[in-house]
């Protein structure tokens, strides 16, 4: 196996005048659990479909498990499990029938009793053992999603690409899904898209953030949080007008969000350079016609980083 399960360089995709992907480059390390984030329409599903060979890039190239997408797609897909967004499966199957059908499409699949055992094992893992005989059209959205994950994992793939696996799941189902993803990580590379940032923080070791078809941040989770800076919470009383002007003029201050708490103002100061902030923030706060009642450093959350990188109202 190469160091990277997925490598993409300069991927672009245009649909007539719409540019869905714009020179996207990304690396996903083998064995990692990589969360793929971005607002609706950012290009996540398009990227995944290109990696699966279902659509062709307008420009650029990608390698999946060492195979160039489009040239040796079949060899790559023999080692990939894929769950599309809003999956639709052939309606005539039962849950067990569909998972067995999916298994039989892979070379070297188990046969007879070994296949039955493998399917049972997978259904158990996906929480579908009791629904094995149910026909697919009778399943709820969450159950269908779990069937989707079971069929993606049935061939014990080296890489799993999951397009919003938690969509439509209730909190219990979502937790089970995340545990499942955490359980297969390590040996299997997991590349999954989601809007649930808590889940990403819980199980992912790396993230790729996409916006308007471009990667805006990528790498290990800790470094993405670090790059986006730190937040300080400051409680102040008195005239803070001059302090606010001085703070926002500093090049290492990204933003100052003020909230009134009665006679006390609480500021969230976001800094882009943690080292400079550590030296200069306290002296700055100490000068002026106000009192400092509270001062502490907060843990940066992925949600903060996401909102900073992508913007709260940046959906298209």
């Amino acid at each position: 196996m190469t160091d990277y399960a997925i490598e993409a360089r300069g991927l672009s995709k245009r649909y007539h005048k719409v540019r869905a992907l714009d020179g996207l480059s990304l690396d996903v390390a083998a064995g990692s659990i990589c969360g793929f984030l971005g607002p609706n329409g950012a290009g996540k599903s398009t990227t995944m479909k290109i990696l699966m060979g279902l659509i062709r890039p307008s420009d650029g190239h990608a390698f999946v498990l060492g195979h160039e997408v489009g040239k040796a797609g079949l060899a790559a897909r023999a080692r990939i499990g894929y769950l599309p967004q809003d999956p639709v499966f052939p309606a005539h199957f039962t849950v067990r029938g569909l998972v067995a059908y999916a298994a039989r499409l892979y070379p070297g699949h188990p046969r007879g009793r070994a296949l039955k055992r493998r399917v049972d094992e997978m259904l158990e893992q996906a929480g579908l053992a009791e629904k094995a005989r149910r026909r697919l059209p009778g399943l709820s959205g969450g159950e269908r999603q779990r069937v989707g994950v079971a069929q993606a994992l049935i061939a014990d793939p080296d890489l799993v690409i999951l397009d919003e696996p938690s969509a439509g799941l209730d909190p219990v189902g979502r937790r089970a899904m995340i545990d499942l993803i955490a359980g297969i990580g390590g040996e299997t590379t997991v590349f999954y898209s989601t809007h649930i940032l808590d889940d990403v923080e819980r199980v992912s070791d790396s993230v790729v953030m996409l916006n308007h078809g471009k990667v805006v941040a990528s790498g290990p989770l800790s470094s993405v949080l670090e790059v986006t800076g730190q937040d300080y919470v400051v409680g102040l009383r008195g005239d803070t007008t001059e302090l606010h002007t001085r703070l926002t003029a500093q090049p290492w201050v990204s933003s100052v969000v003020a909230r009134d708490r009665g006679s006390v103002q609480q500021w969230q100061v976001q800094v882009s350079d943690a080292a400079v902030a550590a030296k200069q923030l306290v002296p700055l706060l100490a000068t002026g016609d106000h009192s400092v009642l509270q001062f502490h450093l907060t843990d940066r959350r992925l949600e903060d980083a996401y909102l900073q990188m992508i913007g709260g109202s940046d959906e298209r």
């Binding site: 060979g53 060899a75 639709v88 052939p90 039989r104 070379p107 699949h109």
Partner: protein
């Protein structure tokens, strides 16, 4: 194992898996539904048109049977092919299957082969054999064939009918992949069937190598098709048409695969 052999094995496994899935479908509810439906429809139409006192046409029983076994299976084949190709494309099922190690050509060929086999058995072979059994036994009010044709000849005729079915399904598959609108595909297919079957289209020499030679009738008593003549002991000289129909079906499927390989899902 070298890369080529591995690729071949992967392709074969994926293609066989799709074919097996299609066949499984026919061994369950779908097969039973079609078997019952077509047995009832075909035998009932045959009975009312040849074995009742009120039947208005002067056709012989086996000529009527052959006509029915051309029109109904072909129409069913075109409708189901268009529904399968267009429906699966639009609802995303095709995209899901192609996310597996299944070659695109293999997917098209295996899906069509499974559908063709299921339809051939449920709409041609079984209803044909059932009619072969009861038709000569029916009280011959008027025009019912007094004796059954030789079984060997009848089985050959059924085989030719399955080739005709394959041709029209290939037409529907090609159009479905190009147009992806099932209503338009079925309308074009039905028009083609009408043109090839009736004297509306002037007959040219090159049509000896097409299904027109096999299914064209005068729509009048005594205006037998080649297939009916054959089961009534007339020597069969339309083999080039059978081979030509088969070749056209294969060419259309190959064309469909070429277009399908360019599609995005």
């Amino acid at each position: 194992m070298n890369a080529e052999a591995t690729a071949l094995r992967t392709s074969a496994t994926g293609t066989w898996g799709v074919l097996r899935g299609e066949l499984q479908r026919w061994l369950g509810r779908r097969g039973l539904f079609h078997l019952v439906l077509w047995l009832v429809v075909i035998e009932w139409i045959l009975y009312t048109s040849v074995a009742t006192e009120n039947q208005p046409f002067g056709y012989l029983g086996f000529e009527t049977l052959i006509n029915i076994l051309v029109i109904f299976p072909v129409m069913a084949g075109m409708v189901l092919t268009a529904a399968a190709v267009c429906g699966d494309y639009h609802d995303g099922t095709t995209g899901w299957v192609l996310g597996k190690p299944v070659p695109r050509g293999g997917y098209v060929a295996a899906s069509l082969a499974g559908l063709w086999l299921g339809l051939a058995v449920t709409t041609i072979v079984v209803p044909g054999l059932v009619a072969y059994w009861w038709l000569p036994k029916v009280e011959p009010y008027r025009f019912v064939t007094p004796e059954a044709p030789a079984l060997r000849r009848f089985l050959f005729a059924l085989g030719v009918l399955t080739v005709i079915l394959a041709f029209f399904m290939a037409v529907a598959a090609f159009l479905s992949i190009v147009i992806r609108r099932r209503g338009v595909v079925v309308a074009i297919g039905a028009w083609l069937l009408l043109m090839l079957r009736t004297p509306l289209l002037p007959y040219a020499d090159w049509m000896d190598y097409t299904p027109a030679r096999l299914i064209r009738t005068d729509l009048a008593p005594g205006g037998w098709s080649e297939i009916t003549e054959y089961i009534h002991d007339v020597p069969f000289d339309a083999m080039p048409a059978v081979l030509g129909t088969l070749a056209l079906a294969v060419a259309l499927v190959a064309g469909a695969i070429l277009v399908f390989r360019r599609l995005e899902f």
